[in-house]
């Protein structure tokens, strides 16, 4: 309860009375009279008609949304007590959300049984948000007694990252699963990619006979195709704070999360078993699985990803490989720090197939830096450093894919994978 104004007046009255009596100057006591009447009257009026008993409820258009989507939030506060003369309502908006329409705060009076509503439309960014309550401040008209509290009206909102549909994802892990998929298994079977030729054996399909090769060799030869199977894929999203630099590190992380979500959806669509590892500030993972429900689970975990700092997970070499089946495909999504290429190379040397998706921070920052010789020089130096890093990655048998985040990922990924094939 805030009685600051009343206290200030009380002190002044006491001061005047004290000095008046102490110095035997009754005139000072008379000067205190208007103040005392004001204080008493104001206090009595404030106490007589103000006792806030409020109840709040909240409704959201949806508790699950995609990033960039618009949502309507409506908070209703009902007065179950006596009249509140000045009521200030404020609903804390989720961080990084933009109010498009309406207001999240309001000043009003509220009679008994009356309801005040806050209604606004917001555009939200990726994240998991907990709406707790509406902040309420109630005062009498002259502000003698103030009261503030958070009236609970909880709600949860999960804003999932948007993703692109990636096609033609080139997977070539050392170990594949028995199920059919899109990963090249390096064994003959049913598939579409040419694998080799061998002599005809009874039982082979006639349509598989390679007539030209048979004519050349003088005996029947059949064409074999590379069998495509499902694979274990681990998506590793780097959430080390140090890896996300520049003016808007959270924007860069959002791009990385979108890239990871696109990879997850692309691999799941190919029938692969996909797991997720958030690595950096903390260690969080989703065990490998299949299907749309699993995809939703992974997206929800990606929605909650945030950067942080940790001594334990400061280097990529400390990725816990116990969580990743040996011989599986690892897709790391990271802007990369100097020295990471060695750690990724060590993973490749252990038998993992490693690809790395690098959201390019330099292209993202370039537009905000403007033009000038210094900017040009810095961009050239960074491009050279980037090229050197890529060549070191290639040498370490790691497949990099640098993503210019100003443009969609899908065409860039398709072009890169076509080059690999």
């Amino acid at each position: 309860m805030d009685v600051g104004k009343a206290r200030a007046e009380l002190v002044l009255v006491a001061l005047l009375l004290g000095v008046g009596i102490g110095l035997r100057m009754p005139v000072l006591a008379f000067v205190a009279l208007p103040l005392a009447v004001h204080l008493l009257g104001g206090f009595v009026l404030a106490a007589a008609d103000r006792r806030p008993r409020l109840l709040a409820s909240r409704s959201l258009t949806s508790s699950r949304a995609w990033e960039g989507e618009e949502l309507e939030v409506r908070v209703q506060v009902t007065n179950q007590g006596r009249r509140v003369e000045l009521l200030y309502l404020k609903d804390p908006v989720p961080p990084r959300a933009v109010i498009l329409e309406g207001q999240a705060e309001r000043l009003t009076d509220l009679g008994p049984g009356e309801t005040a509503a806050l209604s606004y439309r917001i555009r939200v960014r990726r994240g998991v948000y907990e709406f707790r309550g509406v902040q309420v401040q109630a005062y009498d008209l002259l502000g003698f007694v103030g009261w503030s509290e958070e009236v609970p009206c909880p709600a949860a909102l999960t804003v999932l990252p948007r993703y692109e549909r990636l096609q033609g994802v080139a997977l070539a892990p050392r170990r594949t699963l028995p199920q059919a998929g899109t990963a090249r298994s390096r064994r003959a079977g049913s598939g579409v990619e040419f694998f080799g030729c061998r002599e005809y054996r009874p039982g082979d399909e006639i349509r598989r006979i390679n007539w030209k090769a048979s004519a050349r060799s003088g005996e029947l030869v059949v064409t074999e195709y590379e069998e495509e199977r499902a694979a274990d894929v681990a998506i590793v999203l780097d959430v080390r704070e140090a890896a996300y630099r520049g003016e808007n590190p959270l924007d860069l992380l959002d791009h990385a999360v979108r890239g990871a979500a696109s990879l997850v959806e692309g691999f799941l669509a190919g029938g692969n078993r996909v797991g997720l590892l958030l690595y950096g500030a903390y260690l969080d993972w989703v065990y490998p699985g299949y299907g749309r429900r699993h995809g939703e689970r992974v997206l929800r975990r990606l929605a909650a990803a945030r950067p942080g700092r940790s001594e334990i997970f400061a280097e990529l070499r400390r990725i816990p490989t116990q969580l990743l089946p040996s011989g599986s495909q690892i897709a790391v999504v990271s802007p990369l720090l100097p020295g990471d290429e060695e750690d990724l190379g060590a993973l490749a040397a252990r038998g993992y197939r490693v690809m790395v998706l690098v959201p390019d921070v330099t292209t993202m920052e370039r537009e905000s830096l403007g033009e000038g010789p210094e900017v040009e020089l810095a961009a050239r130096i960074l491009a050279l450093e980037r090229r050197a890093l890529l060549s070191r990655l290639y040498a370490a048998r790691v497949r990099p894919l640098v993503w210019d985040v100003r443009y969609p990922l899908a065409p860039q990924a398709r072009a890169a994978w076509r080059r690999v094939q």
């Binding site: 309860m1 805030d2 009685v3 600051g4 104004k5 009343a6 200030a8 009255v13 005047l16 009375l17 009596i21 035997r24 009754p26 005139v27 000072l28 006591a29 008379f30 000067v31 009279l33 208007p34 103040l35 009447v37 004001h38 204080l39 008493l40 009257g41 104001g42 206090f43 009026l45 106490a47 006792r51 806030p52 409020l54 109840l55 709040a56 409820s57 909240r58 409704s59 959201l60 258009t61 949806s62 003369e85 000045l86 200030y88 705060e105 309001r106 000043l107 009003t108 009076d109 008209l141 002259l142 502000g143 007694v145 009261w147 503030s148 509290e149 609970p152 009206c153 909880p154 949860a156």
Partner: protein
């Protein structure tokens, strides 16, 4: 805010009138009182508003001691009204529905004016009384008055609960999340 400024200037002019519009060089130092109060109203600063009230009431007390008592009381009443208006300006009035805000402001202005006038009336009434009260009677009366105020404050504080919480104000609603 404008009302608060008018009140501060009015209180100063009334106090000046209580001294017969003196032109003593020392008098101009008293300009600091309306200046601080006006600054508080302009900046909507709680501390400056309180300091302005203290200075204006102090100035009125000085005027009452050496000049016209009734005008000093009027200056106190105006200072108190200005202080109310300054505090009202601190409320986020722009966030309200204009029609409701106008009604709220009119109510606050009326209530403050009524209280200030009542205080002025009581002050003038008491100052015109010619009753001889022994010194210790005054001390006892003041002590009793003080005790009454403190008890009233405590009662209100207890009524609204301690620690900034009002009793019975917990909502068990989980919201209408769809």
């Amino acid at each position: 805010m404008i009302l608060a400024l008018l009140g501060a200037v009015g209180a100063y002019l009334t106090a000046w009138a209580g001294l017969g519009f003196t032109a003593e060089p020392l008098w101009w130092v008293s300009l600091v009182a309306p200046l601080v109060a006006s600054l508080g109203a302009l900046l909507r600063h709680r501390g400056l508003l309180a300091a302005g009230l203290y200075l204006q009431v102090g100035l009125a007390a000085g005027v009452a001691a050496v000049g016209e008592r009734s005008l000093a009381l009027a200056a106190v009443a105006l200072a108190v009204w200005s202080w109310d208006m300054g505090n009202l300006a601190r409320a986020r009035l722009r966030l309200g529905d204009p029609r409701k805000v106008r009604r709220l402001v009119l109510g606050a202005v009326g209530r403050s004016a009524a209280l200030a006038l009542a205080g002025l009336g009581v002050g003038l009434g008491f100052s015109s009384l010619r009753v001889r009260v022994p010194f210790w009677g005054v001390v006892g009366g003041v002590a009793l008055g003080w005790l009454g105020l403190v008890l009233l404050l405590r009662a209100v504080r207890r009524a609204y609960g301690l620690g900034g919480e009002a009793s019975g104000n917990r909502s068990d609603s989980v919201g209408l999340t769809r």
